[in-house]
Amino acid sequence: MMKRRNFLAALGASLVAGCSKIGESKWFEALVDTAEGWHRGIHRTLGVNRIAMAPEYERSDISPFFRGNGSRTVDTDAYRAALESGFPDWTLSVGGMVDNPLTLTLEDIRGLPQRTQITRHDCVEGWSAIGEWTGPQLSHILEQAGVQEGARYAIFRCADNLYGADYYESCDLDDAFHPQTIVAHLLNGDPLPEQNGAPLRMRIERQLGYKHAKYLTGIELVASLDDVEGGKGGYWEDQAGYQWYAGI
């Protein structure tokens, strides 16, 4: 009887101690990656026969202000000067596996058909905020650029640098062509505030906040994420091991 109790105590202790070890092992990582794939598949399957849309809210639901997290600015003199003058020279490049690479000014972006959506932003940390975002649908821009056969991901390049590495993000083409995926330049009717990614940020409404790249400078279509930066498809994915599919 004592043996059994010792066994159970040891089992409990090794669970706590062993978890860190297991967490760093290759097979655990592989298991986590597999589950991540299921989650994406299941979420997409449950929304079958329609494009599953993130909920949209009323004006009265909007949070009194919108929290900024992660990078809250781009720490360069050029950015500060551009912010001061309303970003006259800011451009968004669209390249990689496209037929017609584009370079869009803010003027160009404001001239495209716009979508306005009031959505809830969920941070991986647990908090949420509701805001109204306006901008052209990414699908519209990608149609102009002409995505080539074989492209599987859209990479979002950013001006901000966090702890010594450039911020970037990516999503699959389902999300890139989703109607609620927009290049936002307005928050609650005003140009994006500095801490929320001025002058441009992505909205990828069916995923967590770290996917919504701020201070957007370029969009690149690629066949694989392997050769992009750290190879895991995003800043936090590379730096801290966050899941690339952030639908959970």
Partner: protein, 228 residues
């Protein structure tokens, strides 16, 4: 009842231990996730202490998985064991419906809800006499186990699903059931601690009632007539 049946069916036993492990991993990785943002809100949104109904203490490393702060790794553990937990519960429920465990042992009869009966049951518990019911479990046991199996554990799953933005796009009605994402997050937290409270009471009662035999029976199955 000396019919040669096992006290605990094989399905119950497997689930008991799989569930014990997965709830432990989920609880401890959940405490790590809680450390990322230690405020709870009601409704759809909330991000500042002033909006919170509860400021949660920071949980120390010895209570979390992994044993240091890592939101990424804790989330990996959490969503992986959520599968073990949810599928385990589903299979257990199917098996317990099929073998009559729920109907025979867990469902309370109308008469058991009479105040006099409940009061009697509480008094017997205070005297540490736990074998006073007609069936396998006494009234308070039935209520506690049913509350965990049919209320708390499913609530953990559904409030967890509400917090997933991808899931919400597929099933937006589920968020509305709970009154918003931050409400679901608060309920998730409350139910987790209710489960912890259940675990403490459960372990104390096992310790008071021949723990070696109880544990042995939950492994080997035991014999049904031992319980009567």
């Amino acid at each position: 009842m000396a019919n040669g049946r096992k006290k605990h069916s094989i399905g119950t036993r497997i689930w008991h231990w799989v569930n014990a492990l997965s709830v432990m991993v989920l609880f401890m990785s959940g405490l790590n996730i809680s450390n990322a943002h230690r405020y709870l809100y009601w409704g759809e949104w909330g991000f500042m202490p002033e909006q919170a109904w509860l400021a949660v203490p920071r949980f120390p490393g010895w209570a979390t998985i992994p044993g240091y702060y890592s939101l990424a790794s804790a989330r990996d553990w959490h969503v992986l064991f959520a599968w073990v937990f949810a599928l385990g519960l589903l299979l257990f429920m199917l098996s317990a419906v099929r073998n009559g465990h729920f109907r025979r042992d867990l469902f309370t009869r109308f008469a058991e809800w009479r105040p006099a009966h409940i009061w009697h049951d509480i008094r017997e518990h205070l005297k540490l006499n736990f074998h006073h019911g007609a069936g396998k479990f006494n009234f308070l046991q039935k209520v506690a186990y049913s509350g965990v199996i049919f209320v708390l554990l499913p609530l953990m799953i559904f409030t967890g699903m509400v917090m997933s933005p991808g899931m919400e796009a597929a099933w937006p009605w589920l968020t509305e059931v709970f009154g918003g994402r931050q409400s679901a997050r608060s309920i998730h937290f409350i139910c987790a601690w209710a489960l912890f409270a259940f675990l403490v009471v459960h372990l104390v009662l096992v310790l008071l009632t021949n723990p070696a035999r109880q544990i042995r029976e939950m492994i080997t199955g035991g014999r049904d007539d031992e319980a009567a």
